[in-house]
Symmetry: C2
Subunit: 336 residues, 2 copies
DNA sequence: GAAAGTGTCTGAATCGATTCAGATCGATTT
DNA sequence: AAATCGATCTGAATCGATTCAGACACTTTC
């Protein structure tokens, strides 16, 4: 049915070994053979069978990417960056969205192991370190994305979340805000706790006259943001914060919408809002949202590059790549 | 290195054939053997080698999904739906984002062919029909997503875009709008022309007193939307439309932002805006955006299901699944 | 009691690309 | 002229799971 390397060899009048060499190390083959083989490939419409290649050579040309929230445009961008890098070298990306569900996370790790991916990019939700270690023992390296590997057991590519949190709150303080609410959760997500830690540091650094309260949410979604916004506005006016920092833009946009629609408080006049990630929609909100930018595509590209290096050299030492976050000021925090 | 079926067989004291049977048709194996094999698998941490399975059995457990704009949350949702369905049966999804680039589209088709995917889900950009036909001839079926297969050569899952366009403009007319602008492009995208056709039909149906003008954009992005918004607002006030229909929400959100930020026209008082897709951000805009909803997850789920059926029966007749669009009214078109 | 049937198991052949030891051959060295 | 060498090519062995013809042990049937 399908055209195999044998058919090509026959047509080109060479052995299968030579065809394989043309495909994999053309410089060891005479120019004449290369040409004949290429022509036969062309004529027959031959396409290499990845399964056979993977089986024999043991090298896979797919990597798995497990994302904890595919709905978040930030991750979409990270994946896009990884894609860019991958397509350069003919690597395909197996994609899995776990939606912050430990079961789905495990499922995808199993699935990708069966597929014998060359490596794994993962924005983890649950505690996957043990699983990743056993995968690595089986020859599948992993690089953590958007998450610093605290124990240094794996390479990681992320942004300094603590610095980002600090940056956000320092900016709020610099523009005159004093009663700041950190709206986020759940607190078993590293991103949340790190960004809060940075926020706390900035608040404490500014001295007694800055208040930082924490409003917990159960997820980092737009809906949770609007819900939290409603809760805040339900308080007596004097208990409203004059600024809100949300550890991702989805939450921030939800908050922003709740406040704008309610109408009693103006943004940024009464309440300033700043998010995190700087997703494309942040700038397009009706009150354009200030945010802490992560170089999302670059994160994806870098993660994939490091992953390929580790796949090539299994004994390489894990390294932590940390990009600096960048403050992007838009209308939602302009000083009034 | 890796644990193979042979190791399992040895440990369980059975033949490799039996292990394979336990894995693939356990009912033909005695309960005793099943248990022994399962235990051996457990103890050795055996994971089936997909490459070998694919090679011999010729059935792949991956499908490719090629999307034309991965940044659009609509497609993110469609992918999510496909994932849901796929993970039920242990299918993994190879993901490729073409970003409305014909070259990238071709590249992914090649890549996925090499990977010998079981089938292909594609939201096409260029004219891929010939390529898809040759893939099908090689045993790889394809299902078009978000695009009706006009020539009926392939199965497709989409929403009736013409009806959606009509719905949008009928709604605008019903709420008293008379000078309607269709802002979208490029016009070689089927989604755009269909939605415009529907809009035209609605306008003509309403008689002479309704005006429909077309403002062309070069892409369906937020940025193009804000740019188009600026162009419209640059006109003398009397030439402003009193309603805008954009064939996707990204454009609509861009337009909305441009108009709100400009401030001279109110939404919806002076200009109503309606988009298409009903992405999650539509409801979260500061002026919540009316839209034509597509059942995005359902589209993904259905497409994957049909694809698997076609993979199982190569001679099945292509079928067109068309979901009805649904009007979602929010503040951006509330009658003033 | 022979034949037929049933349930279970075995093990070699197979899928297609890669790899590598060895063959071939003309050129160069001794 | 023999030996050596480098460039090029060949073809069988291999990767691991699946498949299937045949083996085997028991029952059932006539």
């Amino acid at each position: 049915m399908a055209v195999s390397i044998r058919d090509v060899a026959q047509r080109a009048g060479v052995s299968v070994g030579t065809v394989s060499n043309v495909l994999n190390r053309p410089d060891e083959v005479s120019a004449d053979s290369v040409e004949r083989v290429m022509q036969a490939i062309e004529e027959l419409g031959y396409v290499r069978n990845e399964a056979a290649r993977k089986l024999r050579a043991g090298v896979s040309s797919t990597v798995g990417f497990v994302v904890l929230n595919g709905q978040n445009p930030f991750y979409t961008d990270v994946v896009r960056g990884a894609e860019d890098e991958a397509s350069k070298t003919g690597i395909a990306i197996l994609y899995g969205n776990t939606d912050e569900d430990v079961k789905r996370e495990r499922l995808y790790l199993d699935l990708f192991q069966e597929q014998q991916v060359r490596g794994l990019l993962i924005a983890p939700y649950g505690d996957v370190t043990p699983r990743l270690q056993s995968l690595r023992a089986g020859g599948i390296p992993a690089v953590l994305v958007d998450r610093f590997s605290g124990d240094q057991k794996f390479s990681s590519v992320s942004v300094d979340s603590v610095a980002g949190g600090r940056l956000a709150v320092e900016h709020l303080i610099a523009t005159g805000r004093r009663r700041i609410a950190f709206v986020g959760g759940p607190f078993d997500m590293r991103q949340v706790t790190d960004r809060l830690a940075g926020a706390r540091a900035a608040a404490e650094n500014a001295g007694d006259h800055v208040d930082l309260e924490v409003v917990a949410t159960s997820a980092m979604t737009v809906d949770e943001g609007t819900a939290a916004g409603a809760r805040i506005l339900a308080r007596p006016r004097r208990d409203w914060p004059d600024a809100i920092f949300a550890p991702n833009d989805l939450l921030a946009l939800g908050l922003l919408q709740a406040i704008v629609v309610d109408g009693r408080a103006g943004v940024p006049d009464d309440i300033a809002i700043i998010g995190f990630d700087d997703i494309p929609f942040a700038g397009a909100a009706a009150v354009p949202l200030s945010s802490i930018r992560q170089p999302s595509r670059m994160i994806g590209r870098t993660a994939l590059r490091i992953l390929m290096e580790e796949a090539a050299d299994p004994d390489s030492i894990p390294r932590q790549t940390v990009f600096p976050p960048e403050l992007v000021v838009r209308a939602s925090t302009r000083s009034s």
